[in-house]
């Protein structure tokens, strides 16, 4: 009797085979002494186990066992220490974040629009410098990290050199 046949015999005992197949297997087992003996052994083991758990009892009194469960339930339902926020703070919390953000925007606005502020002064100086020199053309290539400046008129020192040359001439 091969292993698959043994497993089928067990499945037959457990009522896990379709009726037709179970009937055939039962007939085979009746003719085969080895199969019949195995089936008997499996049946005996099942019978020995029946009712085994019925006599097992919890070794603790009802009151004591329940007191442990009750304590554990209450512990699991109690809020974790420190997690409870003061009621006033809890009420105001939804408004605090937008209020803080508005305050930051207001402060930034005041700092940037003040004429005497260093930021404002720096920005003004930059634009004056740029506007003051209309004859200069600047090209910046950020990817190459290069800045080129073209001057469309002779620089002061070039005029001076011309003058000197003229003097020589």
């Amino acid at each position: 009797m091969d292993y698959n046949a043994q497993l089928k015999l067990q499945a037959c005992l457990d009522g896990e085979l379709p009726e037709g197949e179970a009937g055939k297997l039962a007939m085979t087992a009746a003719r085969d002494g080895e199969a019949a003996a195995l089936l008997e052994e499996l049946r005996n083991t099942r019978a020995a186990l029946a009712g085994f758990e019925a006599e097992i009892q919890l070794p603790e009194s009802r009151e004591f066992f329940w007191s442990k469960i009750e304590r554990e339930i209450q512990r699991s339902e109690a809020p974790a220490p420190g997690s409870a926020a003061p009621p006033l703070f809890a009420l105001l919390r939804p408004f605090l974040v937008p209020a803080f953000a508005l305050a930051l925007v207001f402060i930034a606005g005041v700092v940037l629009t003040r004429p005497t502020s260093p930021v404002r002064r720096a920005a003004a100086a930059d634009s004056e410098t740029t506007l003051a020199d209309a004859g200069a053309f600047t090209y910046r290539d950020y990817s190459a990290g290069t800045t080129l400046v073209w001057l469309s008129y002779p620089a002061d020192n070039e005029v001076a050199e011309d003058d000197e040359m003229g003097t020589v001439n």
């Binding site: 292993y3 043994q6 497993l7 067990q10 499945a11 457990d14 896990e16 080895e34 003996a37 195995l38 008997e40 052994e41 499996l42 005996n44 083991t45 099942r46 019978a47 020995a48 186990l49 029946a50 085994f52 758990e53 019925a54 006599e55 097992i56 009892q57 919890l58 070794p59 603790e60 009802r62 066992f65 329940w66 442990k68 469960i69 009750e70 554990e72 339930i73 699991s76």
Partner: protein, 199 residues
């Protein structure tokens, strides 16, 4: 509702009361089913202390998930499934912490159960109930947790192969093979115990 009222109420009524937050109703349910839940944990764990702890944990989980209980099965069956899952988790943790048992290695190495001689004489015939229980207890303790669990789920929980496979996360073929091994090994162990007694 008084405690006396609870003791005469059926499980369904108690469950509904407990779902509304009635702890006294839940206490009555615990009292009714605590032995069965403990017995299932003990059959799987083979350790009284662990079985007490796990059955207590199952009851706490039962209370926390009580709203999910819709009554498709009996309350006792529902609670039994909770304790079985807790025991399986615990057994898997324990298995990771120690080497595999000899029984499991036997199964992996080609199925020794195929070559075991058939136990022709019923080894439990004529035994007193207490003696039988003691012998089965010892024999169950010698099985690996996988074999014992399949046996417990099939024989005590009356689960079908398909349900056992789902619960244990394995194939139906593995369930059949483990159950076959567990039964044959148990028969051999009980026969050995009988022989030892007669010497």
């Amino acid at each position: 509702m008084t405690v006396k009222d609870h003791s005469s109420a059926d499980d369904q009524t108690l469950v509904r009361a407990a779902q509304r937050g009635d702890m006294a109703a839940f206490e009555e349910l615990v009292a009714r089913h605590r032995d069965k839940i403990f017995a299932r944990a003990y059959s799987m764990m083979r350790n009284e202390e662990e079985a007490v702890d796990l059955s207590q944990e199952a009851w706490v989980k039962g209370w926390q998930r009580l709203r999910q209980f819709q009554g498709e099965s009996g309350f006792g069956t529902w609670m039994t499934r909770i304790v079985i899952n807790l025991c399986l988790d615990q057994l898997r943790k324990q298995k990771r912490q120690r080497t595999e048992s000899i029984e499991a290695m036997d199964e992996e190495s080609g199925g020794v159960e195929r070559h075991m001689p058939v136990v022709t004489v019923n080894p439990t015939a004529g035994l007193e109930r207490a003696e039988l229980r003691q012998r089965i207890d010892r024999a169950l303790g010698q099985l690996s947790y996988e074999h014992r669990t399949v046996l417990v789920l099939h024989e005590f929980e009356e689960m079908e192969y398909k349900q056992i496979a789902k619960t244990m996360g394995c194939s139906i073929g593995t369930v059949m093979s483990r159950l076959f091994y567990a039964r044959r090994k148990l028969a051999a162990l009980l026969a050995d115990l009988k022989k030892q007694d007669s010497v």
